[in-house]
């Protein structure tokens, strides 16, 4: 597992250095990194206890509208196994017509791809209601009411985070995580 991870990182590192990448190439290249990050975020976030029926209830990661990422997350989740005693459960959703899929309420973390064109405000209201950590690669996602947003800074995948929005959903982001977040001056 360690060897695979090392290999993956090594592949990324080599490709990042050696290949003159296009934007789409870059996107492709960054998928596993995003998946890795998505599986690691939960460690630094606290959910209300009621969001877990039992001590060993699964931690549900929902991926909306990005099949490749979903595959990558599934792979990463296999590696990570879970958060504490909660095993990972990764689900894929097609973008719904009315922006919000009631099935999402089981998800603890919901990744919404930019391509799914989900209305962030509606998603935000839903997330608040059901204590869901929302993550997206859409522009101004955090600014529009999302919790976390992937950004690329100096060719490196980083993220933005809003502790306030998370708090509205009764989620608590750890200071270590917030320290990693990109700060907009």
């Amino acid at each position: 597992m360690d060897g695979l991870r090392k290999l993956t990182i090594a592949v990324f590192a080599v490709s990042a250095v050696l290949l003159p990448l296009e934007a789409s190439d870059r996107e492709t290249r960054l998928i596993p990194v995003r998946a890795e990050m998505l599986t690691r975020f939960p460690k630094y976030v606290e959910w209300p206890k009621a969001r877990f029926a039992k001590d060993d209830s699964p931690f549900v990661i929902g991926v909306v509208g990005d099949q490749p990422l979903y595959d990558a997350v599934v792979a990463a989740a296999k590696q990570q196994k879970g958060v504490g005693k909660h095993p990972f459960s990764v689900q894929f959703f097609d973008p719904p017509k009315d922006h919000v899929d009631p099935k999402w309420k089981d998800c603890h973390l919901l990744y919404v791809a930019q391509s799914a064109k989900i209305d962030t405000k509606k998603l935000s209201e839903f997330a608040k209601k059901h204590h869901v950590l929302t993550v997206s690669d859409a522009d101004k996602f955090v600014q529009n009411g999302g919790c976390m947003e992937f950004v690329i800074v100096r060719r490196k995948l980083r993220f933005r985070a809003s502790a306030e929005t998370a708090k509205d959903s009764e989620l608590k982001l750890s200071s270590n995580l917030l320290r990693m977040a990109v700060k907009d001056e």
């Binding site: 360690d2 090392k6 990050m37 690691r40 460690k43 630094y44 958060v83 504490g84 750890s174 270590n176 995580l177 320290r179 990693m180």
Partner: protein, 659 residues
Amino acid sequence: MSHRRSQSIRARLFAISLFATGVAVLLAGGALCLYELQDQRAGFEQSLRVRSAVLGATLVAAVEFEDSSVALDILRPLESDPYVVFAAAYTADGRRLATFPEGATAPDVAPELGTREEGSVITDVSAIDDQVSRLPIGRLLLVSDLGPMYDALERRLLTMAGILFLSLVIATYLGTRLQERITQPIHELVRAAGAIQESQDFSARATRMGGGELGVLTDAFNDMLDRIEKSNLELRAHRDVLEHKVRERTYELELALDRAESANRAKTDFLANMSHEIRTPMTAIMGYAELLLDRDQSEEERRNASETIDRNSKHLLTIINDILDISKIEAGQMSIERIAASPGAIVEEVVNLLQQRADEKGLDLAVEERGAAPDRILTDPTRLRQILLNLTGNAIKFTERGSVRLVTDFRLAPDDPQGEGTLVVQIIDTGIGLTPDELGRLFRPFHQADETVTREFGGTGLGLVISRRLAELLGGGVEVESEKGRGSTFTVFVSTGRLDDAASLTATPQKVVHRPRGCLEEGTKLLLVEDGPDNQRLIQFVLQKAGAQVDVAANGQLGLDAALAAWEEGAPYEVILMDMQMPVLDGYSATRQLREAGYPYPIVALTAHAFEGDDERCREAGCDDYATKPIDRTDLTAKIAFWKGHHAVTEAKWRLEPQ
């Protein structure tokens, strides 16, 4: 000595304080340093653990997301840590994620876990654990250098050494100052003791310096000095007193020695004088006696010789009597009796005895009684008579023309009419008198008014001395007033003894009494009882010459028989002269038997007067008076004249026992 002294106290105190201070500072400083070292070390270790833990927890996300810039940011605060040389964070697969400060030579691969120490450098590698699973996800390397700490400790040690040195200096200074407060009083004591030892002056004192035990010690020392000084003064005073006493005694001894020598000299002089006084008349007597034995001498020459012998023998007798008297007086052996006696009778007797001599010189010898005088006084009649005879005899001797008067007076005791009075007899002459200088020497033995006096007037010069001493023994004295060329007045004072009613005063002053000239009435009938033929012949001759009719009895028994026979016949002897030392029956026994027989007429004892108390024995036997052998013609006739016609019975009535 001063060196030893300072070594013994000052140096010792100094060493003690230095040692104590040094040890205390060293111990305290060492302990402090050690504690500081351990404390700092423990603090460092503690902070190292905390720092690793905090950094590890903080680095979790950075390591997790392999964000080296965040990791660097997290490590950056180590900048302010004085000990951290560099730090590095490693990922789970051992790659170095971040190094601080950048460019430090941290190993590229994560080192082994644990803490290693090389010199002052401590390398600590701790694990960074996953927040949820607690599994290691990375490593943190912290390399610290404790050099600064050790440097600080070293600086502290140096500071402490400085403080130690400084405190030693201060301790030394303070110790010296404080120790002066202790040593100074001791030095003062030692100084005072040394000064006293040197000067022996115990008035010196040690100055009290401060209180405490040393003050008390100084006080005690001074107190001791006080006592020593006091006892010294007492000793000195005692010594002075002793010296004074010794001087006094020495002076007294010298005085006594002087007196003894003077007395010795006086005795030698006295003996020489006596020798001379006795030899002079003796020479005359012996020489003229030889002349008398020479048949070739004419009647005129023989008569001259006899007269010279007579005169010289009388003088010799006087001298011997005087010598005996003065010797007795000087030896304190002169016994004085106190019996009733008539002062008038004694004066009369004296005048009777001296009448002849006065007549021979053509002097008027008179008795005057001034004021009231008692009939009888308690005195020693013999001594009183002797005094008056002496002084009156002297007066006659030194008077060529005019008169010698005996004036009697009597003074009562001022506060007690029955007490002791004083009989005063003044012997007033119109003789040659004395100069004041001669008066001063008058009562000294063997001193007459002048050396020439002896030659001209004869005499021993003892008479006045004897008279004065006797008068003193009789409770009075002799005073003299005189004017050269006009005459002298000798006043005799004699105590009368206690007067009782019987001794009534004669109130009427008597007129001047002139005594008849001193021979006996023609045919006065006398009995001489005497065993010695020479004395028989001599006394018989003398008395017959005076006009008496004298019968002689050879011993007491014959005398007794003759007296009683004459009494029975109605023609008693008017006076019996009784020798006391006789064979067959002595004078004492004969007189006693006569008195026992009731014989009433006067008996005059003839005695050599050789023994003490002879006169008293005579009186006890019943004699009325006594005459001393060798007999003096004038004295004997005067006594016979006095007693003739007196009745012994009447006389006996006078006798009172001595009080």
